[in-house]
Structures are given as C-alpha cells and as structure tokens.
C-alpha cells in the first residue's frame, strides 16, 4: 500500500500531490500547497487556469483524481469525515447563490444544518447581519435584494459559521466599482479582526494585493509562484507571471557588463542599468511596470539611473491615467496622469525622455 504523505499539523490546510481530471483532461496539478492559520492566501491567475477547480478541491467539494487534502495535519478521505470537515468550512462564490427564502432563513441555514440551538443562532446571525450592514434586511426575500446587498448577505452567511477556513471564489467580481470598494474594505476589516484563515481566488491583482498575506500564481493548472505580495508582484519568476502581475514592459537583452549588483544590459543597442545578480553574457528579460517610468520633455536630472530619448508612438487615455507608447529603439509603455499628458502635449511624434530607476527593473534569466 502507498504510504500516506506526512502532513504538517501546524498547517490549517495542506494539499499534496493533488491532481484533478475533468472530462478526461488533467486540469490541475498541485505538488504541494500549505495554508497557515490566520493567513489569507490569494490565488491569482488568468481565466481557465484552474483557480475555481483548486478552490473546490481544497473545500472538499470536488474529488481529486489523486492526492490528499489535509486539515490540521489530518488527511480527509472518508465520506462522513468529508461532511464533518465541510461543516468547519465556508465557501463564498462569485454569485451570491441565495435560496428562494428570506434573508434570515438563508443566513441561518448553515447553523441549522449543524444542529445549533435556536437561541444561539438568533444572536449570532443578528450580529453578523449587522456587521455587514444588512441587519434591517433580515425579513426581506433574498431574491429581491440588489447585487451588493445579496453579496453582503452571502458573506454574512459564511461568517456566521465561524469557519476554520473560509474560501472565496471571485467574491467581488460581479459588483460595480463603488459597491465593490465599500464591500472590499468592510470585508478586509472583518478578515483582520476575526483572524480568519482564508483562501481567496481572484483574477484581480489589486484585490490580491489588498487582501492577501501571501499570493500564489496559478497558471495552466499548476502553481507557478508563491510568496509575499511584494515578492510576486516585483520579482515574478518568469515571463508569463511577469505579464500577469502587470509588468507590461518585458524586453529581451544581454548582460553587457556587471559590477557587484549593478549590471549594464544591452537591449537592441541601447544600454540600461539594472540591479541583477546575472553574469556577463547571459541572456535576460528585463521587466518594468508602466507606472515606474517617468516621462518628461527634457532630460531629467533625477536619481534615476536610466534616461532614454524616444518618440511617442501613441497615447490612450483611460480615465485619470494615460498610457503612452514610446519608441526608444524598442517600445516602452509608460503610465502618466492624463492631466500631465495634456500639459506636456503628448501626441504621436512628440520627442520625450523616459526615466526609470535601476531598482525598479526586474531581471529574469531567459
């Protein structure tokens, strides 16, 4: 018989050797994933990368083809064990998925299924409804609520269970921007106050940054990178991750010389300086975020190590920010405020300087 893998009991949740096959195709392969108590793990990744599948298998709602999911070091295998463990968890989906009954009945259902005494249910549910600002909606029919209200009810329904681990699948995706912002703040506060262990799946990088204490990047069904938000967002491990976390500028180059941590990288004949531990002659990818590039009409005398001359290829305004494409032998995308773009009179053909710091560049071995 195969030896069960040794699970770490200090982990709230641990998955190992997890594979999921759907429709004859393997859609998920997780060698190992650990969630520590009170941490919020944000799983990000493009559409179709297997985020929901991962969440469903961790929440014991989808049976994996191989591998185990363990809670506090105990692998959950048998059917009655699964039900017992499910009753220590809570899941919030993208849609509110409220039942066709009153708000009160919806929020009390989970506790009733757990056989909790009526009086305890009443107190707990009331306080959570109020915590999410929907205390006065208790008697309303759930299907008559607005999108934002329904979402608040579905969050309250999850939190009344005081879950050991809370799972959220794109919880704020279908909301309009102001509703979403208000709810995101409330939710972040509740998570912090209750120190709830949570796994939140999202395609929205800002959500992951705002909520996650760790971030995992899922691509094509496997975890490409996992680490602190700062690590993942400023030091992506490869090109695909870099693109996904918003490093729009990814340039191929060669290390021309290096001195300590500082390297000079040749990109199509232009030299730029970056912090890197790569060796001379190595081929690399240089990543930089559009918001880290300063655009000016004259050469800047700032601390930025790099200042390139170029011609504006085009501008696209989107709200308060404006994307500027600059040709400096290669194409750079910069973000400036729409206001300063207007003031500088940026348009196709404008001669500009693009400045960026050596530390704001991220060098990936190619």
């Amino acid at each position: 018989m195969k030896q069960a893998p040794v699970m770490d009991s200090s982990c709230a949740l641990e998955a190992s050797g997890l594979t999921v096959v759907l429709g004859g195709q393997q859609v998920l392969e997780i060698a190992s994933l650990q969630v520590r108590p009170s941490e919020v793990l944000a799983v990000i990744g493009p559409n179709g990368s297997g985020k929901t599948t991962l969440l469903l298998s961790l929440a014991l709602l989808l049976r994996p083809a191989t591998g185990t999911v363990a809670y506090r070091g105990i692998p959950i295998v048998e059917q009655d064990h699964i039900l017992k463990q499910r009753r220590r968890l809570a899941v919030v989906f993208q849609e509110p998925l409220l039942l066709n009954s009153s708000v009160w009945d919806n929020v009390t259902l989970g506790l009733k299924l757990r056989g909790m005494p009526k009086e305890d249910i009443r107190q707990r549910v009331q306080s959570w409804l109020e915590r999410f600002g929907v205390g006065d909606l208790a008697r309303r029919q759930a299907r008559t609520l607005s999108g934002g209200e329904a979402k608040r009810v579905s969050l309250a329904r999850a939190f009344v269970l005081q879950p050991e681990v809370l799972f959220l699948d794109e919880p704020f995706a279908a909301l309009d921007s102001p509703t979403r912002q208000a709810l995101l703040e409330d939710f972040a506060n509740v998570l912090r106050e209750t120190r709830t262990t949570a796994v939140i799946v999202t395609h929205d990088r800002n959500e992951a940054l705002a909520l996650g204490s760790r971030v995992a990047v899922l691509m094509n069904g496997s975890i490409r990178q996992i680490g602190s938000p700062a690590e993942v967002f400023s030091s992506p491990v490869d090109e695909e991750v870099a693109r996904f976390v918003g490093m729009e500028n990814l340039l191929e180059g060669t290390i021309a010389s290096c001195e300590g941590q500082m390297a000079v990288i040749d990109i199509k004949g232009t030299s730029i300086q970056a912090v890197s531990d790569c060796n001379m002659g190595e081929r690399v990818l240089v990543g930089m975020r559009p918001e880290d590039i300063t655009v000016a009409l004259t050469r800047l005398s700032s601390s930025a190590r790099n200042c390139l001359h170029g011609t504006v290829k085009g501008t696209v305004a989107s709200g308060p920010l404006c994307r500027v494409e600059i040709d400096c032998g290669f194409t750079l995308v910069a973000l400036v405020t729409t206001r300063s773009a207007t003031e500088m009179g940026l348009e196709k053909g404008t001669q500009v300087y693009a400045a960026f710091k050596a530390v704001s560049l991220h060098v990936i071995k190619h």
Binding site: A59, L61, R86, E95, L99, N100, Q141, T144
Partner: protein, 232 residues
C-alpha cells in the same frame, strides 16, 4: 334549452339535499385521487430530483421514456394495468381488479411521469453552483435534496397541479380497472359517463359541477401556497 335548465336545477337539488349516493361518489373520488397524487408526488419528486441531479448511462433513454409517459393515453394505461391485475395475470393473486386500489395504481402510473418530468425540468434549471453552495453550507446528500426541492417549490407546485389534474379528470382507466361498481369503485368521472348514457342529464350536470368545484378548491389551495412566497 329546457334540458340544461332542468339539469342545473336538479344539480343544485342533489348537492344541497346532500344526496347520499352523490356524497359517496364524491368522497371516493377525493380519497382515490388524493392518494394517487400523494403517492406519485413522493415517488415522482424523488425520482425527478435524482434524475435531474445525476448523470448515468441510459439517462437519456430514461428521460425520453418519462417524456413519452407524460402524454400516455389513460386508456392504454388502463389496459396495461388490467392485464397485470386480471385474475390470471401476473398480479392476479392480489385480487385488486375492480377495487379502488386498482384505480389508484392506474392513476399513479398516469401522473408519475408528469410529476417526475416537471420535477426534473425544474431541478435542472437551477444554477449548478447552487448545489455546491448548499453542500458547502454543510448539507448531507439527503439534506441537499430536501433543500433543492424546497427551493424549487414554485415550479414543483405546478407539477402537483398538473399531476392532480391528470388524475381527477381521468375516466378511461378508472372505468376499465375499477369497473364503475356502485358504492365500491364509482367515481365522479365514471358516474358522469354512466348518467349521460342513461340520459340522466340532471345527475350528470350535478356531478360535473361537483367535480369542477373539487378541482377548483384543490387548485385554490395550491395556488395560495405557490404565490405565498412571491416578493412583497
């Protein structure tokens, strides 16, 4: 014209005088139809929910059988039940032929596909994620079924109405397997057929009015239950 007026007068006379024969027929109709509805509800809702939720080989074939059953002619059902219950038939030893039980069996077979089909359709139109959400809330398999059925009560009550409607209006099968025996298996529909053939239009109209009132009252109750959950 006189015939109709006389008929209606006769009808009210029979109803308000509380004619024992009419009363007996009415009570038997209610007992038989409600029992048949109850049985096919319990079986049909369970089957419909399970078929609606699961995928198995032969499912498509089963669904096509159910859909066909929804439109099966009561006379054919009556014929099949007769063949089975006949003294020399496979179930002849139970001597159920020409008993109220035989009518209940036939009516169950008529309404079961209707209730199963309606249930299946209404369960299938639910968001598949709702099932996951209910399981995630900590429901066992049985609790999941119950919660889903409760959540689809609007279309399900339509299933009850259609099922009950098919049962109470049915005459061919009740006649064949019940035999329209006075005081034993005579129900409203078979009694109407008999009275009309005798030319007793007054009694026939009276029974017709009673039948309509029964259908109306049952549907009134069901409608009240269905519309109760509408948003205020």
């Amino acid at each position: 014209m006189d015939l109709i007026v006389e008929g209606i007068i006769e009808a009210f006379r029979l109803i308000f005088r509380g004619d024992p024969e009419v009363l007996k027929v009415t009570l038997l109709t209610l007992t038989v139809s409600l029992s048949a509805t109850a049985i096919s509800l319990i079986v049909g809702i369970t089957m419909g929910t399970v078929i609606g939720l699961t995928r198995f080989t032969g499912r498509r074939f089963l669904v096509s059988l159910i859909n066909t059953g929804m439109g099966s002619p009561p006379v054919v059902v009556g014929l099949i039940v007769s063949v089975f219950l006949w003294r020399n038939g496979p179930l002849g030893i139970f001597s159920l032929m020409y008993s109220p039980y035989a009518i209940v069996i036939a009516q169950c077979i008529i309404s079961l596909p209707i209730i199963t089909g309606f249930t299946m359709a209404s369960i299938q139109q639910l968001d598949p994620k709702l099932r996951l959400q209910i399981l995630a809330l900590g429901a066992s398999r049985l609790q999941l079924l119950w919660i889903l059925v409760r959540d689809t009560r609007l279309p399900l009550l339509a299933a009850v109405m259609a099922g009950f409607g098919s049962i109470i209006s049915e005459v061919g099968a009740a006649m064949m397997v019940g035999g329209n025996i006075e005081g034993h298996t005579r129900v409203l529909t078979t009694a109407i057929v008999l009275e009309v053939s005798k030319g007793q239009f007054g009694t026939a109209i009276a029974l017709g009015i009673i039948l309509m009132i029964l259908v109306y009252v049952v549907n009134l109750v069901l409608t009240a239950a269905q519309q109760r959950s509408k948003p205020r």
